[in-house]
């Protein structure tokens, strides 16, 4: 293979191939470890918000409850409804979880450090298309939901999938536009470059407050979090696209959902909250990076849970008109004004 002709995964890598493989496994494991952590945080916090204890039996303070639930789900029998389409029914949860884990690879947990004499970037890959990679995998994950809903052969699943399709398309546009301002200021799509820019200058949450707000709101809708959880509104359509799933399939959808929430928080951290940077401590040791990113990410998780405990679910037409008539024009205006300011300065 000539050195001038390398696929994307090799173009931006600083490491040798075996380091990349080890790193990939470790980052996937980090992702899968954060899922039960987020589930536990959500259940405990929701309990507190609603004046109850939340899970408190398995392990100290109920911390092992999520792990026990996962074990229980994986041990259950895999069944499928008679009306479902076998291949697609089993493919859908796999698509959802694979896309979520692949998206997690782009989250920069830290800068390039030297481990045992090998340069290692503390991220899965640093692609030159940054947020576009997230959106591309997001549209793959979307097929997980739609196939799950369609292949189940159930009306509730079908309604959930249709809602998911409309909602994801609507809010993806606003989400993309909310990042345009940041991209114009940085002049680059790479997430690592964005963090480095914020280390040298200001955090983007101060430079792009409107973009930040739009991104967080759209991220809540993209990850089907309350108050935008019409896709799986329990009181109307049971559980939406995952109604007919049990055991491993349900666990996969559930895991993908929580991982998507973590990724939304992590991307918001990276793009708007300075990634692995610690304020007023410019030369913090690089090994702290991953912990800082995970801490900031869980601030977002806390915020998402807080919102879920506070706001009631929107009605469907409110959801659509909010996305198209408020968020989208606001994001466009934000991008326009940023463009003018960037050119003027």
């Amino acid at each position: 293979m000539s050195s001038t002709f390398v696929p994307m995964a090799e173009t931006f890598a600083v490491e040798t191939w075996w380091v990349q493989i080890i790193k990939g496994v470790i980052i996937a494991l980090i992702g899968f470890t954060l899922i039960p952590a987020a589930v536990t945080v959500e259940r405990k916090l929701l309990g507190r918000f609603q004046h109850r204890y939340g899970p408190n039996r398995a392990g100290p303070y109920g911390t092992l409850q999520a792990g026990a639930d996962i074990l229980k789900l994986l041990g259950k029998e895999n069944f499928r409804p008679a009306a479902s389409q076998g291949f697609l029914f089993y493919l859908a949860p796999i698509l959802a979880v694979v896309a979520a884990v692949a998206t997690f690879a782009i989250v920069p947990l830290g800068e390039v450090v030297t481990i045992f004499g090998q340069p290692v970037g503390l991220y899965g890959i640093d692609v030159g298309i940054g947020p576009l990679y997230v959106f591309a995998l997001g549209s793959i994950a979307f097929y997980g939901l739609v196939l799950g809903g369609f292949a189940s052969g159930s009306k509730y699943s079908y309604l959930g999938a249709m809602r998911a399709a409309a909602q994801l398309i609507s809010y993806e546009v606003a989400m993309g536009l909310s990042l345009v301002g940041v991209i114009m200021i940085t002049g680059d799509l790479s997430l690592v470059t964005m963090v480095e820019y914020q280390q040298e200058h200001l955090w983007f949450v101060l430079l792009q407050p409107v973009g930040f707000l739009i991104f967080v709101i759209a991220a809540m809708a993209e990850t089907n979090r309350a108050p935008f959880d019409l896709v799986e509104a329990d009181s109307e359509i049971v559980a939406g696209y995952m109604t007919e799933y049990g055991g491993g399939g349900f666990a996969s959808f559930y895991a993908a959902e929580y991982l998507n929430m973590i990724i939304a928080g992590a991307i918001a951290t990276t793009v708007f909250l300075g990634g692995w940077a610690i304020p007023f401590w410019p030369d913090a040791p690089a090994a702290l990076g991953p912990f800082v990113v995970i801490f900031k990410t869980f601030l977002f998780v806390f915020f998402f849970v807080w919102i879920r405990a506070t706001l009631p679910r929107l009605r469907y037409d409110q959801l659509m008109s909010f996305g198209w008539k408020i968020l989208l024009p606001l994001a466009t205006l934000n991008a326009l004004i940023t463009a003018v300011v960037v050119v003027a300065i």
Binding site: S2, G128, I129, A136, I140, Y143, M162
Partner: protein, 240 residues
């Protein structure tokens, strides 16, 4: 590695394309088209065009195909398959597809497959080749006219879609009406979130309550007055 990836995605792309026409169920055909498009994105990646690859997945697999999935899931379950056309239609389809295939084959073989021949001596690529920055620059300099024309066309299509999809209140036979900005604001009393929080609905309900109370009060007082008058009349009658 590159060769393995190339043949893998090429085979998947061709399999997807064959699946589109060979599968009986339209929904499965659409899914095969998605597989084909994702495989094409892989080929773009191998050609260093990561931006195009991402755009391919986001725009085609993510937006256009979603619409196809939507439509075929709604109406396609027991819809037509490719075998249900008339005999003439089928013959015509095979003829047209055959001639298109011939043209493509001539073009491909006419190039002498030079790409395969000098695979070893590819030009060195400049830094940032195929990236978003380079494509953006090309779009706004060399291909500016085509770019602007395409965006104008898309804008016209979007405006047309909005106009066509607009809700008509009194049937289709509606004369031309200018769409005003105020049409975007929902009319009062439709139960929007703002009304719920700002109290418009509550205020209306209270107003209705007050009105009802007033009507009831008026009616009771009128009834009372009538009763009094009747009583007075009775009294008069009794006296006389």
């Amino acid at each position: 590695m590159t060769e393995v990836l190339f043949f893998l995605s090429a085979i998947v792309a061709i399999a997807g394309a064959v699946g589109v026409i060979a599968l009986k169920n339209p929904f499965n055909s659409v899914l095969a088209l998605v597989v084909h498009l994702v495989a094409l994105a892989m080929l773009f990646l191998l050609l260093h065009s990561e931006f195009i690859a991402a755009a391919q997945v986001v725009v085609y697999a993510g937006a256009v195909m979603v619409l196809y999935v939507f439509v075929s899931a709604y109406v396609g379950e027991e819809g037509e398959t490719w075998t249900s056309g008339g005999r003439l239609q089928r013959a015509l389809a095979f003829l047209l597809a055959g001639s298109l295939g011939t043209v493509l084959l001539i073009a491909m073989l006419g190039s002498g497959l030079r790409g395969l021949a000098d695979a070893g001596e590819l030009p060195t690529l400049e830094a940032g080749f195929g990236g978003a920055a380079q494509i953006g620059e090309l779009l706004l300099t060399r291909y500016l006219l085509a770019f602007e024309a395409a965006s104008l066309l898309l804008l016209a299509a979007a405006v047309g879609a909005v106009l066509l999809a607009r809700r008509r209140e009194d049937g289709i036979a509606e004369g031309p009406r200018v769409l005003a900005v105020t049409d975007l604001v929902p009319s009062a009393g439709t139960g929007s979130m703002t009304e719920g929080t700002r109290g418009t609905l509550a205020a209306r309900a209270m107003e209705a309550d007050r009105l009802a109370e007033r009507v009831i009060a008026e009616r009771t007082s009128a009834a009372k007055k009538a009763a009094e008058q009747a009583e007075a009349k009775d009294g008069d009658g009794g006296g006389a």
